[in-house]
Subunit: 102 residues, 2 copies
DNA sequence: TATTTTACTTTGTATCTCAAAGTACTTTAA
DNA sequence: TTAAAGTACTTTGAGATACAAAGTAAAATA
């Protein structure tokens, strides 16, 4: 390991994206509005964070119609789940190091 | 609590600043070069992150001369330590929620 | 005395974040 | 049946942030 933060994943390095992933680890699927409300951010804001996670292949978007109404649901991909676990471990390492030496 | 990420502190919401604080929790003091090397970032980059933490009162800068050479050392303030602990707790809450429900 | 190194600071661009406005419907009300 | 309001996003653009390169000044080294 080059340095103490090298295992921290840039893609998850924002509280909104951390929140999105946390929700998608717990729930198989989540829709736009649920994510927005759970995290307390605006439409445009959550959309851009979802898009960022989609771009790196961590979140999958499925669009369909329910009762002729458009429905979009989001889920975490396999690699999203994997890399998020690693990210958590990296943060915990960093913090454990911190706390144990106090 | 309004939403699941409301206790996550924006000031610490970047891996470099997370790293700086972790180092300063463990070590009473750290100098510019140590921080830079531990975190593997460029001069300008670490300088701006330190400045951001200084601006919100979480990091204190002390400049002095040792053997007529300028020496700058950084330390975490009381509120920096306090708020960092809270931030850690907030992240852990978010992640525990995640992990326990899987 | 010249050159290199150390320890930062300044600067400018590139990237990111965010909310407001826009779009494309569906639902409700008149 | 047409207008107004609501829902579920997407687009846009400005402001904030991150970053590396270049700059500076003093000290060490040759």
């Amino acid at each position: 390991m080059k340095n103490i933060i090298s295992n921290i994943n840039k893609a998850f390095d924002h509280r909104v994206r951390l929140g999105i992933m946390s929700v998608l680890m717990v729930n198989e699927y989540a829709d736009f509005t649920s994510l927005k409300e759970l995290l307390g951010v605006t439409d445009g804001n959550i959309a851009s964070h979802i898009k960022a996670l989609e771009k790196v292949g961590y979140v999958k978007v499925e669009k369909s119609f329910i009762d002729r109404k458009p429905n979009t649901r989001y889920s975490a991909t396999k690699s999203g789940r994997n890399d998020f676990q690693k990210h958590i471990a990296a943060i915990e390492n960093l913090l454990n190091q911190t706390q144990s030496k106090q």
